[in-house]
Amino acid sequence: MSTEENKPEVDETIEVDLRDPGLAALLAWFWPGAGHLYQRRFAKGALFMVCVLSTYFFGLALSDGRAVYASWSKEDRRWQYICQFGVGAPALPALIQNRLVRGGREPLFGGSMAPPRFVNPNGRDELSDWHKKLNTRFELGTLYTVIAGLLNVLAIYDAYAGPFVPAPEEEKDKPPPDDEDK
């Protein structure tokens, strides 16, 4: 049996009611899948929610809650948080923890999602202690949470504009109207 025969029924003709696309995109960012649930696209909403949140929380658990933190100090620019921010509400506690730590106060939740309190690029510091304790789990946790954030960017786009449908082959191969006259 050929691959084409196994191909499920195509769904390019389905019309999707996006309701308010801007609000849907905002909801999709705030909680993965919520934008699709608002648009009554329940199956896709559940799929995005399960895939993005399980990836994010698995990465967070893998790193004992250390892989997601917000820091923009000169010694420790945590660029990965920009990607993790794409997950929305689950990544927002990192901003609160950053405010608490920078204000000299104790972080909440046992220090989960809090930035390292002292960073010394030339020697031992809290960040190096995390790496020593967690070994590869810190980097793996970072990888998982970053990918979760980036995947949710795709979900946000889908909530805003609907599924990306490539142009049919016939349309792409068709010469421009000007060429047909010649």
Binding site: N6, K7, P8, E9, V10, D11, I14, V16, R41, A43, K44, L47, F48, C51, V52, S54, T55, F58, T136, L140, L143, Y144, I147, A148, L151, L154, A155, Y157, D158, G162, P163, F164, V165, P166
Partner: protein, 68 residues
């Protein structure tokens, strides 16, 4: 073959690849289609493509590092 492959996956960090490939493939498929059937079909093809691509990169790196 499969027990060896399974044991290798468990004993290295490679098993971390499995949930990532599943999640990435499903989300990618879901951004291209609306119905679950085509989404799963697209996700399957994307997963095969990702694993195949990584296998090619592995083979190239393995060949380059031969005798090092």
């Amino acid at each position: 073959m499969y027990p060896t492959l399974f044991a290798t996956l468990l004993n290295t960090q490679l098993w971390h690849l499995v949930p990532l490939v599943i999640a990435v493939s499903l989300v990618y498929g879901a951004t291209r289609h609306e119905l679950m059937g085509p989404i799963l079909y697209h996700a399957y093809r994307a997963a095969v493509w990702i694993v195949g691509f990584m296998a090619i990169i592995f083979a190239i790196l393995f060949a380059v590092s031969w005798n090092l």
